[in-house]
């Protein structure tokens, strides 16, 4: 495990997490959440949890994002906060 790499990933994670909850456009928030999940998946794969990283990439970055987008397309894209 290369700690510099991990650290950079963590910084990205925190930035993505904060961005996902502050962006006013919900679609952007969801796309950022998807990026967050993907970084998380890479991080886990790098931490020797290949199967979990794999699942997170399929579920967190894949299915969850699709479900979110489907839900947003049927409700509203704007958020007040």
């Amino acid at each position: 495990m290369i700690w510099e790499f991990n650290f950079a990933m963590f910084i990205f994670l925190v930035i993505c997490a904060i961005a996902a909850i502050t962006v006013k456009n919900l679609l952007s928030a969801v796309v950022i959440l998807s990026a967050y999940s993907l970084i998380m998946a890479v991080l886990w794969a790098e931490m020797n949890a290949v199967d979990v990283g794999f699942t997170e990439a399929a579920v967190g970055a894949g299915i969850t994002t699709v479900l979110f987008i489907a839900a947003i397309s049927r409700t509203t894209r704007r958020s007040r906060d």
């Binding site: 994670l13 909850i21 928030a29 020797n48 579920v59 839900a71 958020s79």
Partner: protein
């Protein structure tokens, strides 16, 4: 002193990161008024917990827990991975249920903001 502290911080920093991300998620769940934002916060919170579990399992210099013939490598602990696979299933089901609720709330009230919902329901208690 500082030299002692530094490796300690380095070995532990993913726990601190997990806690920071957890707090971000929890904040979003409590403080945000938009229901979709709440669900996003829930997702962040849950993945942060999974990160915590993976950090428990990780062994310095270990390899992924996949059996390779004839090698006696140092494996990382596979049990937390299995637990997290289960927890991911739970997490995605929760998200799906929550999103379908949001869609039905929007159909009923034409809004997904908690403040508006509170105001609309305020009269009847």
């Amino acid at each position: 002193m500082i030299e002692d502290l530094f490796p300690l911080l380095l070995t532990r920093y993913n726990y601190y990161m997990a806690v920071i991300i957890m707090m971000i998620g929890l904040y979003a769940m409590i403080a945000k008024s938009n229901l979709v934002k709440k669900i996003i916060g829930l997702n962040i919170f849950q993945t942060a917990i999974f990160l915590f579990y993976i950090s428990i399992a990780d062994v310095r210099g270990g390899t992924a827990p996949i059996l390779i013939e004839g090698s006696n490598a140092l494996y990382v602990n596979p049990v937390p991975h299995v637990l997290i696979l289960t927890a991911i299933v739970v997490s995605v089901s929760t998200t799906a249920v929550a999103l379908s609720l949001v869609i039905r709330i929007h159909r009923e009230y034409r809004t997904v903001e908690e403040e508006d919902l509170m105001r609309m329901e305020g009269g009847s208690g």
